[in-house]
């Protein structure tokens, strides 16, 4: 699994470390980690609906923050959760633009093994770094 839950970082909430060889990959796996925090069996989330959105930020870590925040908003506003993502990131005039297609379906209590609700992405220890050629994201999701 490209992401691991860290017991020693947060007691009440979900602390996750995500690793990927590509920038797009780290966004995709972070999105999956967010959904997996709410749904134990990620593979049970079928692709029935696609949502397209764009977020931007001057900083790459805040771009990830904005991306994840959109997923939390979709969950609350439209009861949608996602298991697959298409990500396209561009750097233009000192800022990053992200175009995302999030693929998933409506929350189904009978089908999805639901766990804790992710209510917010926090900035506590939030980071996105590149070490050698590998990307690493650390996030604490508020439960």
């Amino acid at each position: 699994m490209p992401y691991i839950y860290k017991d020693d970082i947060s007691i009440a909430d979900a602390a996750i470390e995500v690793y990927s060889d590509s920038l797009e990959g780290i966004f995709i796996d972070s999105g999956k980690a967010l959904t997996n925090t709410m749904v134990d069996n990620l593979e049970s989330v079928d692709i029935k609906k696609e949502v397209e959105f764009k977020v931007e930020s001057k900083e790459i870590d805040m771009l990830l923050f904005e991306f994840l925040e959109q997923l939390v908003i979709e969950k609350d506003a439209n009861q949608l959760i996602f298991s697959e993502f298409k990500i396209n990131i561009k750097e233009l005039d000192g800022k990053y633009e992200l175009y995302a297609v999030a693929k998933g379906e409506h929350i189904d209590y009978k089908k999805h093994e639901l766990c804790a609700d992710v209510k917010a992405v926090t900035l506590h220890k939030f980071s996105l770094t590149k070490e050698d050629s590998r990307w690493k994201a650390t996030m604490i999701l508020d439960i």
């Binding site: 839950y5 007691i11 009440a12 925040e69 506003a77 093994e113 766990c115």
Partner: protein, 486 residues
């Protein structure tokens, strides 16, 4: 024993201090309210986080942690910080994302024997009527304009729309309405997130519980009688907050504050989650107003849930809710910042008090307390884990001197959710609880395992610490018999 004991200085059996020179930039020392035993259970991050809080501009006297404190993000959960109104800051991280997450305690005139044969029916119906878990949508169908009204009117909206009794207002902190709320200060996204969530419990540690008053657990008969508690009585307690709406308000302003904090106000912080703005600045005042909208929304959420509880009890017992004595004892808020007046160095001073995972605990005499409680102090409702029990305490005069009238809010976690999932099986837990006489209805077994009693501190130890530190007075302990869990 962990390193914490080498860092703190003992002031009494329940008060420990970290001096101001512990970390560069601390403006005040830290005070930890805990027994030695609870201190042992505390994770080091609590120390790191609360000493960061002590660096915030305008903080008065101390940065405090309550006996149930555990690490959070930015501020620890169970953290209290009072800021000067002129020199101080307001920080969304010091309030928490789930603004006005809180507890409500409701009476009945039913006994355990009355409820026992109907318990399953009651819990099942409550589970159906009060949506819990990820993405649950509530029964209150409103448009965006009505939602804006709710954020400004608080519980008064409920009474006007048939979701509450007049007396409910008196029994809610701030009478269920924060008057400084302005919906103009709230983003459209926040409203979108909250629109379908009125009347929903949420998940995590949010729950709705049917409890019993065992005669041996009435510690103060006189006070218990004043609030309407009697032996073998059944009461209802629930815990929830402002749902996605409050979270979005916090996130929106966290980002706004990060943009201006250093560049405009030259404030440097040790953790981005502590982002703040001067209380008197435009940004600070805008957040204060938006945060009050979230407090109001949360009051409405709990008020509409109470309405559903009254409907369920009325249906199951085929009796009007008034005749079942379904009156509120009180509604307390956990995650707030409020302007209050307290004595500092012999003089009354107004301050903005951040309580994150902490309860206001006004002692007898405060004008903010309903008249019927004014001589006994403000009711404080402490929710335990779903397996153990909960408490009704009262605020004390000593709490004003000690902690600016603040106390604990619950048990406090000692085990992470992932570890709890590995340690406990939800299905086994369900069966064991049933053997103990607790019928629980949960959205999922996984969610249930995360909330196992052993994942929390012992509630009795937490309450002992608040009582020994004189920041609360013990009144009643409640035993769970039915539980709806998100």
């Amino acid at each position: 024993m962990n390193d914490i004991i080498n860092i703190v200085k003992k002031k009494s059996d329940t008060i420990w201090e970290i001096p101001v020179d512990y970390k560069q930039g601390m403006n005040v020392p830290v005070r930890i309210y805990a027994t030695k035993q609870l201190l042992k259970l505390m994770d080091y991050q609590v120390i790191d986080q609360i000493t960061n809080v002590a660096t915030l501009p305008g903080i008065i006297n101390y940065a405090y942690t309550m006996p149930d404190a555990h690490s959070g993000y930015g501020f620890p959960i169970g953290g209290v910080a009072a800021m000067d109104l002129k020199e101080g800051v307001i920080s969304p991280g010091g309030i928490g994302f789930d603004i006005n997450c809180g507890m409500r305690l409701v009476l009945t005139n039913l006994t355990h024997n009355d409820v026992k044969p109907k318990l399953r029916e009651l819990v099942d119906q409550l589970y159906n009527k009060v949506p819990a878990g990820v993405g649950g949508a509530g029964f209150v169908k409103i448009n965006k304009s009505e939602f804006r009204d709710i954020t400004e009117m608080g519980s008064t909206w409920c009474v006007e729309n048939g979701y509450g009794w007049e007396e409910d207002l008196e029994n809610t902190e701030e009478s269920g309405i924060m008057k400084g709320a302005s919906a103009e200060k709230v983003s459209d996204v926040a409203i979108k997130r909250g629109l379908k969530q009125i009347g929903t419990l949420g998940s995590g540690n949010h729950y709705l519980e049917i409890q019993v008053v065992k005669p041996e657990y009435i510690f103060d008969e006189k006070v218990a009688k004043t609030v309407g508690i009697f032996p073998n009585q059944v009461v209802i307690m629930f815990h929830c907050g402002s749902r996605g709406f409050g979270h979005q308000v916090a996130t929106d302003y966290l980002k706004k504050f990060l943009g201006v904090m250093e560049s405009k106000y030259n404030i440097k912080i040790l953790d981005r989650e502590l982002a703040c703005a001067p209380f008197q600045s435009q940004e600070g005042q805008d957040y204060f107003s938006a945060m009050q909208c979230a407090i109001n929304m949360s009051f409405v959420n709990r008020q509409t849930i109470l309405h559903r509880i009254r409907e369920v009890f009325s249906t199951v017992f085929k009796t009007e809710p008034e005749k079942l004595g379904l009156s509120m004892v009180y509604d307390v808020a956990h995650n707030t910042a409020k302007v209050e007046e307290h004595e500092v160095d012999g003089k009354n001073r107004k301050m903005i008090i951040h309580r994150k995972g902490a309860t206001r605990a006004f002692g007898p005499g405060r004008s903010e307390i309903p008249l019927k409680y004014r001589n006994i102090g403000q009711p404080v409702i402490i929710g335990g884990s779903m397996e153990t029990g909960s408490y009704l305490l009262m605020g004390t005069k000593e709490a004003h001197k000690e902690t600016f009238a603040s106390t604990a809010h619950g048990s406090g976690r000692i085990m992470s959710r992932t570890k709890a999932r590995r340690m406990f099986r939800g299905e086994t837990l369900y069966k064991n609880m049933l053997k103990k006489g607790i019928y629980v209805k949960s959205v999922s077994y996984t969610g249930l395992a995360e909330e196992a009693g052993d994942a929390y501190k012992n509630i009795d130890d937490v309450v002992d610490a608040t009582v020994n530190a004189k920041i609360s007075k013990r009144v009643v302990r409640f035993i769970p018999i039915g539980n709806v869990k998100g």
